[in-house]
């Protein structure tokens, strides 16, 4: 797991916990959307938090199953944006 993946996974877990009260253990491959971790509200919170924390600009077109489906997908997106 890369350092960025670890950091993203922490942010995602913290957002889910904040939004739902659920303590979760995630791996970079956990199916965030398929397994119901990311409901619409949590997705929106995460979307805002990622931009703050990693100082990147995300577009709603980035909110896809491919990127937000796993923390690895999110990390790849952020890595790509930080270029």
């Amino acid at each position: 797991m890369s350092a960025l993946e670890t950091e993203v996974t922490e942010v995602v877990a913290a957002t889910i916990e904040e939004s739902t009260g659920l303590t979760v253990e995630l791996t970079p491959e956990t199916a965030l959307i398929d397994e119901g971790y990311l409901d619409s509200l949590t997705v929106l919170q995460l979307f805002a938090k990622l931009q703050d924390r990693f100082e990147v600009e995300l577009d709603m077109d980035d909110l896809t199953e491919e990127t937000f489906g796993t923390t690895r997908g999110i990390a790849t997106l952020i890595d790509d944006r930080r270029g």
């Binding site: 739902t20 009260g21 659920l22 303590t23 959307i33 119901g36 990311l38 409901d39 619409s40 509200l41 997705v43 929106l44 979307f47 577009d59 709603m60 077109d61 980035d62 909110l63 896809t64 199953e65 990127t67 937000f68």
Partner: protein, 473 residues
């Protein structure tokens, strides 16, 4: 209902009828699959569905009607104990679910000691004949939330479905040959009606099973979606993400907002974001198929006053009894199922539980008579959540209330009186395991004592005042 679909299947066989993110079926494919289902189903049997929104669910629904069977859609992601109460109230003859989605249903059947057939849509089926339980003309059972804490099965006959579709046909007819996007689950009354109303009109209906707006926008652009149907909270989220900014959806002409809580502020934001949109409001209930009133706001029209939901559709009558809205229409359900069929009304007028008034512009809504919480397009009974909370060993008493929320319509807040040490987190987890996610409270306040009435019951008015202090609203 079936005749227009067969006509579209002849006239535009290759036009997409229903699509989700994974599959798109043409009218011909849909009708063919409905035929296949119809051949394996028995007249009068009750067929529950735990399928994702999309082509297969729609084909099963149409197949049921073709065979004279009763279609009973259940929430895809419900927990075992929620399924259990639905399945024991109205025992279906079979449940159609994909292997991946069948876990909670199987658990519920075991717990209830039922040996209902579980049918995988991928495997061929042939079901035994069973004695008919529901009246001969019943076509669908729609689950809704009830006042005593259990979802109520609402029994709709063929005539109600046809009348509801007919009354909404004028609104959907111009969309023939065009695409409509509806993110609302099809097991939901408005989500289900939306799909059928548009299919009958010859429109292509795109549905979604998860909130991935980037993928949704790509699908909407690809299919040149003309009309987007959703709950007010869905539109608030899209506005927040800037979906309507610029020329994000070049073909979009109108948006349809369901449920009563579309306030002026939301309409104004939508108009600001895209001044070319026609804003269309619809008001309906699970107890009647399709909308009862509609209001179209053209780009040049002034925005309506808060609460106005438009005039009654053809064949719909509205009246006020004191300040409660009552409706009479052929689209109103036969009744609700409670061991036997219980009529919804004694005099043909359905009490909606909504408070408002009628004037020449139409129906103006002010709020709910009952305590239902409206959230993300769902109608949630606080009693059901209270029962789950009180089910925890360390909870003495619980009151659940809806608090106005700018994005979600209402958020669910619980006031809990614990026995000894208890953390709010533990209770949220307890709820998560037992309730569909949209019913889980957003906030739980632990208090020493919940205000009570002289008879010892929780005092909801005082509890609300307490919540407002805790929430700082």
């Amino acid at each position: 209902m079936l005749e227009p679909l067969h006509r579209w299947s002849r006239e535009a066989p290759d036009r997409i009828a229903v699509a989700n993110a994974k599959a798109a079926w043409t009218f011909r494919q849909l009708v063919t699959r409905a035929d296949e289902w119809a051949r394996s189903l028995r007249e009068g049997s009750v067929i529950a569905s735990v399928l994702p929104s999309g082509p297969e669910l729609t084909a099963l629904q149409l197949g049921c009607w073709q065979a004279g069977a009763v279609f009973f859609p259940l929430p895809l992601r419900a927990k075992a104990h929620e399924h259990r109460s639905s399945l024991t109230t109205l025992r279906p003859d079979a449940i159609v679910a994909r292997a991946d989605d069948a876990g909670a249903v199987r658990e519920a059947l075991e717990a209830a000691g039922l040996d209902t057939h579980l049918v995988d849509p991928a495997a061929p089926v042939s079901l035994p004949a069973t004695p008919r339980v529901l009246p001969a003309d019943v076509a669908m059972v729609q689950l809704t939330s009830g006042s005593t804490g259990r979802p109520k099965p609402i029994v709709l006959d063929r005539a109600a479905l046809e009348a509801g579709t007919r009354a909404n046909a004028t609104a959907t007819a111009p969309l023939a040959g065009h695409a409509v996007f509806s993110p609302m689950p099809q097991f939901h009354a408005m989500g289900g009606a939306t799909v059928l109303e548009h299919l009958v009109a010859g429109a292509s209906v795109l549905v979604a099973n998860r909130f991935v707006p980037g993928d949704d926008r790509r699908r909407m652009v690809e299919h040149e979606v003309r009309c987007l149907v959703g709950s007010p909270s869905y539109f608030r989220m899209l506005l927040q993400l800037g979906l309507f900014d610029g020329d994000g959806l070049p073909a979009l002409e109108s948006v349809v907002l369901g449920s009563a809580s579309a306030n002026g502020e939301l309409l104004a934001s939508l108009r600001r974001a895209d001044p070319t949109l026609t804003l269309r409001l619809r008001y309906g209930l699970s107890e009647a198929f399709g909308a009862l009133t509609r209001l179209d706001i053209a780009p040049d029209d002034e925005l309506p006053p808060r609460g106005l939901v438009g005039r009654a559709l053809p064949e719909v009558e509205l009246r006020m009894v004191s300040d409660e809205v009552e409706a009479r229409a052929p689209s109103v359900a036969l009744g609700r199922w409670d061991e036997a069929l219980v009529p919804l009304t004694s005099d043909g007028w359905l009490r909606t539980g909504d408070v408002g008034h009628v004037d020449p512009r139409g129906l103006h809504l002010r709020g709910r008579r009952t305590q239902f919480i409206k959230r993300q397009g769902h109608r949630i009974d606080p009693g059901e959540i209270e029962q789950v909370l009180v089910g925890h060993a360390s909870v003495r008493e619980a009151v659940v209330l809806g608090v106005t929320d700018p994005v979600q319509g209402q958020r669910i807040v619980a006031l809990v009186e614990p026995v000894g040490e208890l953390a709010a987190n533990v209770l949220i987890r307890h709820c998560r395991a037992r309730l569909t996610s949209y019913k889980v409270p957003q906030r739980i306040h632990l208090v020493d004592t919940i205000p009570r009435t002289p008879s010892g019951k929780p005092d909801r008015t005082a509890a609300r005042a307490r919540v407002e202090v805790e929430e700082g609203t």
